[in-house]
């Protein structure tokens, strides 16, 4: 194809998105659109998969059967969300093996928040309330994104996500209405998860390199700073309800804007974690790689069994 023809196709393509038409996997798309989507959808899928690890730790330590059942269901949902997203990503012509390889080698990123440790049971509450809360804010606009398979996967994800946040808030509520030790535990979890949750919504608009293009493709409907403000405004009253204190001395309601002003975020910490130097980066990836490697014989055996059965079927047919 000549450059002229490609330019023409690109214009038609951008116009389709501007008209709110959906792009489907077999449609022509600019290489950059394909690559950007593979990057974002796979990052999202990896985050779901790695996101199971900090919680998996607490399944066997849940304080009651009710909590255990809920946590198991939440972790199972996360595996499901990862699978919806991987299969949406594969429609763009990348294989599951390649995607896993990128995660295991460290080439692909996942949400930096999962590189923090879950030290107490209250962390299960804080993760559900804050991390899933921030995730929902990020994800809801994606139900309308331009790439059909991604948008459909997100509709399913968002439907299931609300239970995650509610069960987390309920854990916090129970702790806050409990003994002093339990309430302290809840406060400690909020102290440790608050700032990483704000960072989770991404670098400031000034630092965000992909924003403009992503807005055009509806991969993003609101800027990181707007999403962060939305998250803070929605979460502060919830913390008040719990009787907990947000660990930010500069947090103050601004009557003029109708929003909360907040203190400076430690972006050095964020970039350190993104670059692999967070408290649990190595532990997370090695747990993931071990799970994959240790499962190899099961996958091989299942394939061997399937081909054996297929061979018998063919023999009977002959």
């Amino acid at each position: 194809m000549s450059n002229e023809q490609i330019k023409n196709l690109e214009e038609i393509f951008e116009a389709r998105i501007a008209r709110d038409e959906k792009i489907e996997a077999k449609d022509w798309m600019p290489e950059k659109y394909r690559k950007t989507h593979i990057r974002q959808i796979s990052q999202h899928a990896h985050s779901e998969i790695v996101g199971m690890l900090p919680e998996g730790n607490w399944i066997s330590r849940a304080p009651s059967l009710r909590r255990k059942a809920a946590l198991l269901a939440k972790v199972q949902d996360e595996a499901g969300h990862g699978l919806y997203l991987y299969s949406a990503c594969e429609t763009l012509g990348i294989s599951r093996e390649e995607l896993y390889q990128q995660l295991h080698s460290g080439k692909a990123k996942y949400s930096s928040i999962f590189n923090y440790p879950t030290l107490t049971w209250a962390d299960m509450g804080a993760v559900g309330w804050l991390v899933d809360g921030a995730a929902i804010i990020n994800q809801v606009p994606l139900c309308n994104t331009s790439f059909g398979p991604y948008a459909r996967a997100m509709v399913r994800v968002c439907k299931e996500e609300s239970f995650h946040q509610r069960q987390g808030f309920e854990i916090m509520l129970k702790l806050c209405n409990g003994s002093k030790e339990q309430k302290d535990m809840a406060q400690d979890a909020l102290n440790r998860w608050w700032w990483p949750s704000l960072m989770m919504l991404g670098p400031t608009d000034a630092e965000s390199v992909h924003t403009e293009q992503s807005m055009k493709w509806k991969l993003k409907r609101k800027s990181n700073d707007d999403l962060r403000q939305q998250f803070i405004d929605q979460t502060v009253p919830q913390a008040d309800l719990l009787g907990l204190t947000i660990p930010d001395p500069d947090l103050k309601f601004n009557k003029q804007t109708g929003s909360y002003d907040f203190g400076a975020i430690d972006w050095d910490e964020f970039w350190q974690v993104v670059k692999g130097h967070g408290p649990c980066n190595k532990q997370r990836i090695s747990a993931r790689v071990a799970a994959w490697d240790n499962g190899a014989w099961v996958r091989d055996a299942a394939m061997a069994h399937a081909s054996k059965k297929q061979a018998i079927k063919v023999k009977i047919a002959i």
Partner: protein, 94 residues
């Protein structure tokens, strides 16, 4: 031997009276496993009463680049639509 599990397309009937609809895809070693995985991945909250699994490689799809030729014949046959036929107003609903 290629040990990567093949890809399957999953179709789910949400309730009797409705058609099966494409829900997504997943990897599985064979059709039984594809069915079981589809149950776990796509129907964790009573989303379905029946599941079909089809190996993705068995699906033949039309190419959107040929949409013009493929669907064009439908465009110029206005006589297939009821509004093509002019009737007097006295014939109220037909």
């Amino acid at each position: 031997m290629d040990n990567n599990w093949p890809l399957w397309e999953i179709f789910v009937r949400s309730k009797n009276g409705l058609e099966h609809r494409h829900f997504g895809s997943l990897h599985a070693a064979d059709q039984e496993m594809a069915l079981e995985n589809a149950r776990d991945v796509y129907t964790r909250r009573n989303e379905g009463v029946s599941i079909w699994v089809v190996k993705s490689s068995d699906i033949t799809a039309s190419n959107p680049e040929n949409n013009g030729e493929l669907f064009e014949p439908a465009q110029d046959k206005v006589y297939r639509h009821p509004t093509f036929y002019k009737l007097p107003d006295e014939v109220k609903h037909m």
